[in-house]
């Protein structure tokens, strides 16, 4: 006896031709228009109130223990300097990036990176920086600062970093 079954279904062929999307932001030092403005330079020739100024003269990052988002004394000191700098340049806004070392899963580390960024943001708010100048993003373990599978690299990668917008 013959049984006939008719099954119909779809197979689809996907042609990858996705639209473009914005690349990394261009440097923050781009020309800001033709108006006459004066620009301050710090003693080592870096433009004051810029990302470079923050990195070189203040410090842009803090570090964490494994699987922790607690701010140690060193991190708190660092953030006090950042808060003072933020008060000096009141038009500056920051994105706080949270990162992790490679010793965890993607999903857990994304959550942990967010907590680190948030811990930094909240501490800065506690020091008087207004919340509307601070946003956060977590990259989990996807963007290590230092490469290598060693404690030396991991300790540099468990971090939160202030990026001037």
């Amino acid at each position: 006896m013959l049984t006939r079954i008719l099954i119909s279904f779809f197979i689809m062929i996907f042609i990858a031709a996705c639209g473009s999307s914005p690349k990394e932001d261009a440097g923050a030092d781009g020309a800001g228009g033709s108006g006459l403005t004066s620009v301050d330079y710090t003693s080592d020739g870096v433009k004051a109130g810029t990302g470079d100024d923050l990195i070189i003269n203040v410090g842009d990052r803090i570090f964490f223990e494994f699987a922790s988002h607690e701010l140690n004394g060193e991190a708190q000191e660092q953030l006090q300097a950042q808060a003072a700098w933020m008060k000096q340049y009141s038009n500056v806004t920051l994105t706080v990036e949270g990162h992790c070392d490679e010793r965890g899963t993607r999903e857990y580390n994304i959550a942990l990176g967010e907590r680190r960024a948030q811990a930094m943001k909240n501490y800065l708010i506690g020091l008087g920086v207004t919340a509307d100048r601070l946003s956060t993003i977590s990259y989990g373990k996807e963007r290590p600062a230092v490469l290598g599978s060693s404690e030396a690299a991991w300790s540099q990668n468990r971090r939160a970093v202030a990026v001037v917008n």
């Binding site: 006896m1 013959l2 049984t3 006939r4 079954i5 008719l6 099954i7 119909s8 279904f9 779809f10 197979i11 689809m12 062929i13 996907f14 042609i15 990858a16 031709a17 996705c18 639209g19 473009s20 999307s21 914005p22 690349k23 699987a67 490679e102 010793r103 965890g104 899963t105 993607r106 999903e107 857990y108 994304i110 959550a111 942990l112 967010e114 907590r115 960024a117 948030q118 811990a119 943001k121 909240n122 946003s135 956060t136 993003i137 977590s138 996807e142 963007r143 290590p144 230092v146 490469l147 290598g148 599978s149 060693s150 690299a153």
Partner: protein, 447 residues
């Protein structure tokens, strides 16, 4: 984006054997490391010379599938005594017994214009009986798909378990230097054919997962530097953000009925991840957890009544089970070490997970109450298990240690690769991808 739709009409005819159906031979994949069954898979017979290539290709796809399962040993074609043409009339069982085949797959094909008729028969050599036989009629270009369907049929009749060959894998294809890898979605058949990219790499994507009921994928995307959960319809190419959340959403999975997304959401005012569900039709959002610890990586039980997830609310990261509404919460992981990414098996009786203990990562399986924990894969880094739809295999990815020189430049390592293994932890094999691969997700059976 452009898409081609191809309607695939498949006619299936059951072929009657001249004998009574033989009883199914129980092997049972979950019973440990059994010896692979020797099986002969002949080139499918074709009168027409041009069709002969198809006969060979179909046979090869079936052989590779069965071999990949670890449960079959394909007997070398060179030792076959009876040729395909004579086999097409009636197998000489003595010939196949002589080369120690337990089973024999034969078939023939007829190509008429754009359609192909594929007929296959599966025999048990010892009892000299036909176990099953079917004829499929479909578009010529679907020959590979039919080969997978036949493979599933053979697997099912011999092992008593449903197959996993007519399935696809979505994963994150990685390229570029360690630490700055481009991560894009890619999809391929379970046997790595028909590979194609689903996103262009201009933004990072992570953790894709299939819908159990439709050709959709949910995943996390960093498009416009706004990390959020999206759904991609792989038929239309349409991408859609899941919900309107002011903060980061991540770690998504579909509910078993395909109607909800379960995921983690980090409220920007709180900065802590909680588990939420969103009903896709009404967009209604429900918060399931409420705890100062991180709650992440939720996965529904197949009946939708329970959720397993990962939390660091205790001293370390552990696995917890709760009802769909957050009630009756219990920690299930009991060992030392940290536990991550639990995934409920499609059979409902096991949970696969990632574990970190003494600086070593593992993929493990435990009962749903946390008992009978055992490790099935181990590496410097391994994570992200995904179940085959029959619950008998797992896929995951490994990342090798990164070695750097004195200037911090990468000398070697840091590579991500996909692997699959059966649930006994035996017969692990690499799933080779064109680029590096991570975060694999197995589709349900397509037929």
């Amino acid at each position: 984006m452009k898409n081609l739709f191809l309607l695939f009409f498949l006619t299936v005819v059951f072929l009657k054997a001249g004998f009574l159906h033989s009883e199914e031979l129980e092997i049972g994949i979950s019973q440990g490391n059994i010896k692979p069954t020797p099986i002969a898979v002949t080139d499918f017979f074709a009168e027409n010379l041009k069709s002969k290539k198809f006969g060979k290709d179909i046979s090869n796809v079936i052989s590779n599938n069965l071999e990949r399962s670890g449960l079959f040993k394909i007997i070398n074609k060179k030792s076959y005594i009876q040729d395909s043409e004579s086999l097409n009339n009636q197998p000489r069982f003595e010939d196949w017994k002589l080369i120690k085949a337990q089973h024999l797959v034969s078939g023939n094909i007829i190509i008429k214009g754009d359609t192909i008729e594929v007929e296959f028969r599966l025999y048990d050599i010892l009892t000299q009986k036909q176990i099953t036989g079917k004829r499929y009629e479909t578009g010529k270009s679907n020959w590979r798909r039919v080969s997978h369907i036949i493979s599933d049929e053979i697997f099912e009749r011999i092992t008593g378990d449903t197959g996993f060959f007519d399935t696809r894998i979505v994963y994150v294809a990685e390229s570029g230097p360690v630490g700055k890898k481009q991560k894009r979605l890619a999809i391929m058949d379970q046997d790595q054919s028909n590979h194609r990219f689903l996103t262009d790499g201009s933004y990072m994507v992570l953790t894709p997962r299939f819908s159990p009921t439709s050709q959709k994928i949910t995943y996390m995307s960093y498009i416009n530097k706004q990390p959020r959960v999206f759904i991609l319809d792989i038929e239309t190419g349409q991408q859609e953000i899941v919900g309107d959340f002011p903060g980061m959403t991540f770690a998504p999975r579909f509910s078993p009925d395909g109607k909800k997304i379960i995921m983690s959401y980090s409220d920007p005012d709180v900065g802590n991840s909680e588990i939420y569900t969103m009903e896709l039709s009404t967009r209604s959002v429900e918060r399931i957890t409420n705890n100062p610890g991180i709650d992440v990586s939720p996965s529904f039980s197949p009946d939708g009544s329970k959720i397993v997830f990962n939390s660091d609310r205790g001293t370390r990261q552990h696995l917890y089970v709760m009802d769909y509404n957050g009630k009756n919460l219990k920690r299930i992981s009991k060992g030392v070490g940290s536990y991550f990414t639990p995934v409920w098996s499609p059979r409902g009786d096991k949970i696969a997970f990632t574990k970190l203990e003494n600086r070593q990562f593992y993929i493990g399986i435990m009962d749903i109450d946390g008992k009978n924990e055992r490790m099935i894969a181990e590496e410097y880094h391994v994570e992200g298990p995904t179940w085959a739809p029959n619950g008998a295999y797992l896929m995951y990815y490994k990342q090798s240690k990164t070695f750097v020189d004195s200037e911090g430049k990468v000398k070697s390592g840091g590579e991500s690769k996909l692997f699959m293994v059966d649930t006994t932890g035996h017969r692990e094999r690499e799933i080779v991808t064109p680029l590096e691969g991570s975060d694999p997700a197995w589709s349900p059976l397509l037929h």
